[in-house]
């Protein structure tokens, strides 16, 4: 299957994947854990804030909990992407989900204030777990985030990071 056909149907222009696909095209960004040098656009991701002390070139930190400790907040570097996945929320009940939605707008405001990039991700491991563009927009609106400014910010951040990475490894 042509991998670049998925985002177009779902209203998503670019999406990241852990799998190194041979038929990868412009619409895919490779997510890796180490500073390898693949021939495709890539970003370095980590699930631990502690990795920031050992690795300086991390682009995205995947967070399980949006309530960060004070020590963790101090470790974060300006311009880094903080990712929150929707897949973790599916198993939660209505009460926890409501709390998450209530908290996310303040977390977004914190990210804006501290110049971190807020990233809402599907965290999908199969096609069925993907989230379409319209659903993302509706979810962002529910969380009190303007979808247009969110996507513009994310696009700008992504371009900056990819250009930086390209020049760094050139």
């Amino acid at each position: 299957m042509e991998s670049n056909e998925i985002p177009h149907s779902l209203g998503i222009d670019v999406f990241g994947t852990d799998d190194y696909l041979t038929n990868v095209k412009e619409s895919l960004i490779y997510r890796c854990n180490k500073s390898s040098k693949p021939k495709v656009p890539f970003l370095i991701t980590s699930e631990s804030i502690g990795d920031l002390s050992s690795m300086v070139n991390i682009d995205i930190i995947s967070l399980r909990d949006i309530n960060l400790k004070f020590e963790d907040r101090r470790k974060l570097l300006r311009g880094i992407g903080l990712e929150i996945t929707i897949s973790n929320l599916r198993l939660t009940d209505g009460k926890q989900l409501g709390k998450w939605i209530a908290d996310i707008s303040s977390f977004y405001a914190y990210c804006k204030h501290a110049r971190f990039q807020f990233i809402l991700s599907s965290g999908a491991t199969s096609i069925c777990e993907l989230v379409s563009g319209r659903c993302f927009d509706s979810l962002l609106k529910t969380c009190g985030i303007d979808p247009i400014s969110y996507w513009n910010d994310l696009n700008g951040w992504l371009q900056t990071r990819l250009i930086r990475r390209h020049t760094y490894f050139a």
């Binding site: 998925i6 999406f15 990241g16 997510r31 991701t45 599916r90 198993l91």
Partner: protein, 124 residues
Amino acid sequence: MLNRRSKRRYIAVRCDKFVKADNGNGIYNSGFALLLTRRVAELYGFIVAQKSSIRDIGNNGNTIFVIRCNLNFLPIVLSAIPLLNPPALVLLISGTVKRLRMNLKKPSFQILKEENKCRIEKPI
């Protein structure tokens, strides 16, 4: 005063792991709408859940479910679908069932309709 019927939208959803309800007709009453109504009620309350009038329209007997909802509550329904367990993917939204089924036959959606065609990891 004109008594106009509220507009509706038809949504095609792919859900692989959903187990259909045993009671009633399996095609027109799969139970998917009930699952979604429950999630909407959890998030937005029972009044909104009832006003959104989510209904089962049909499914292809496999993984694609067609549901109907009130147009005014479409953003609410769309925000609840990604938070469903088992996970569900919105394929298409249309104003009529006829148009929805026509669009689903397009090649780009045929790929998404097919089960286990490919595996992907952590999309942004």
